[in-house]
């Protein structure tokens, strides 16, 4: 089935099998391998992307369900002028260890900060409940998201 999507601002038109998962569409058909597959059961959040501006787990969405929709992956966060403030905050606060969960963490944080630009630490922890870090580096991940919120001063890029 032919689907059309806008991914990181670029239009794509591809023929997909109905059973193709959105994460495989992004990784295997568009070559956007920044989005990782972790648990593959919508538990871990490694595959988190933005669908029409909101975080979703792309292992539990069919590519056909994204037909006509707007997607942002980790590759769409940085601009020519540099890293997105959330990425920068992760870098500066050592918000990653092995890095596998990081793209999902950044995308979940981007969605969350849009809803709640000035969160408390507790709210950040609750917001990231669907994203697992098996290095257990949560402390600095939360610190990074709080730093990003401050850096963005409530303005979502």
């Amino acid at each position: 089935m032919q689907i059309t999507t806008t991914v990181n601002g670029h239009p794509y038109s591809k023929d997909v099998e109905p059973r193709t998962l959105l994460v495989h569409y992004l990784r295997d058909m568009l070559g956007l391998t920044g989005t990782n597959v972790g648990c593959d059961t919508s538990s871990c959040g490694a595959c988190t992307i933005l669908l029409n501006g909101e975080s979703v787990k792309s292992c539990t969405v069919l590519a056909v369900q994204a037909d006509g929709q707007e997607l942002v992956t980790i590759e769409g966060m940085a601009t020519e002028s540099g890293l997105h403030p959330i990425q920068k905050a992760f870098q500066e606060n050592h918000g990653l260890q092995c890095g596998y969960c990081t793209p999902g963490m950044v995308m979940a944080a981007a969605s969350f900060l849009k809803e709640n630009p000035k969160p408390t630490e507790h709210e950040v922890r609750e917001a990231l409940e669907g994203n697992l870090c098996r290095c257990t580096g949560y402390h600095n991940i939360v610190k990074s998201v709080l730093a990003a919120a401050t850096a963005m001063e409530g303005v979502v890029l």
């Binding site: 109905p18 979703v56 539990t60 969405v61 069919l62 969605s111 409940e129 669907g130």
Partner: protein, 271 residues
């Protein structure tokens, strides 16, 4: 993990979805997909065709109807959770919605999907059961209204016909106390046991993951109606109920949890 192959069609309206469901054997509705797709990936479900109603925006709404609030079946958990109307008129529902999965799951999962999936371990089916909600279903013969108490009949089984579409959930407004107690070990897990209590004249109590469907704690409700204390009423939480044993909890431990959680729920709802 890939689901088995299936055909896919986007429904253009509820009648269109009904007509496809009626004519294609083993076809199944797809809404947010957050209950169905995991089952399909594990090959526990292999429908021949998915009828996607995800783009039927007319099924996503929250409206004041006087003594009840009408929630369109495609309303996402995220929208139920943040609804001002529900927060003021049926506050237990947005709270329970906020306890489903995690934020990304709540961006996709829908109230109608969760209810028609009918999982006895899910939060929302038990909440609508305690609320005495009613469900509107549309099929080839037209529309019918089904009380929540008659809706859930077995493991992942409801009274919905294969060619019926759940379109609306009608939740009565209430002004009394309420509580939802969810016991789990990890943030985004299903409840090992959960309890919903709604006090509005009489007190309704329902249980999560104590059987193959959401269940009313009839022993507790009858005791309360007879003027029993909270202590006494909660000791009857699992009267007539035979909870399952699984990796998370034995049947006996579930009974214990039900008693403790019903007590906590009643203390909160009746204070």
């Amino acid at each position: 993990m890939f689901p088995a192959s299936f055909d896919y069609v986007k429904a253009t309206s509820v009648p269109d979805a009904v007509s496809i469901l009626s004519s294609v054997e083993d076809s199944k509705l797809l809404a947010g997909g957050h209950s169905l797709l995991p089952l399909m990936k594990l090959r526990l479900a292999s429908p021949s065709m998915l009828v996607d109603i995800g783009s039927l925006s007319e099924l996503s709404y929250i409206e004041d109807k006087g003594d009840y609030v009408a929630v369109g079946a495609l309303t996402r958990h995220h929208d139920v959770q943040n609804s001002r109307l529900l927060k003021s008129e049926v506050p237990i529902l947005p709270y329970v919605a906020s306890q489903v999965g995690d934020p990304s799951v709540r961006h996709r999962g829908t109230i109608g999907g969760s209810i028609s999936h009918g999982d006895g371990a899910s939060d929302l089916p038990a909440a609508v059961l305690a609320l005495d909600a009613k469900f509107v279903a549309v099929g080839p013969k037209g529309e019918r209204v089904i009380p929540a108490s008659q809706f859930f009949v077995g493991f992942l089984e409801t009274v919905l016909d294969l060619d019926e579409v759940l379109t609306e959930i009608r939740v009565p407004k209430f002004s009394g106390g309420w509580s939802y107690q969810k016991f789990n070990r990890r943030a985004q897990d299903w409840a090992i046991v959960g309890v919903a209590a709604v006090s509005n004249g009489s007190t309704k109590v329902s249980l999560v993951n104590m059987g193959s469907t959401p269940l009313r704690a009839v022993g507790t409700e009858a005791a309360l109606a007879d003027g029993a204390s909270i202590e006494e009423a909660s000791s009857k939480a699992s009267d007539g109920i035979d909870p399952p044993s699984d990796l998370n909890a034995s049947s006996a431990y579930r009974r214990h949890l039900a008693e403790v959680l019903v007590r906590r729920a009643l203390v909160e709802a009746l204070r």
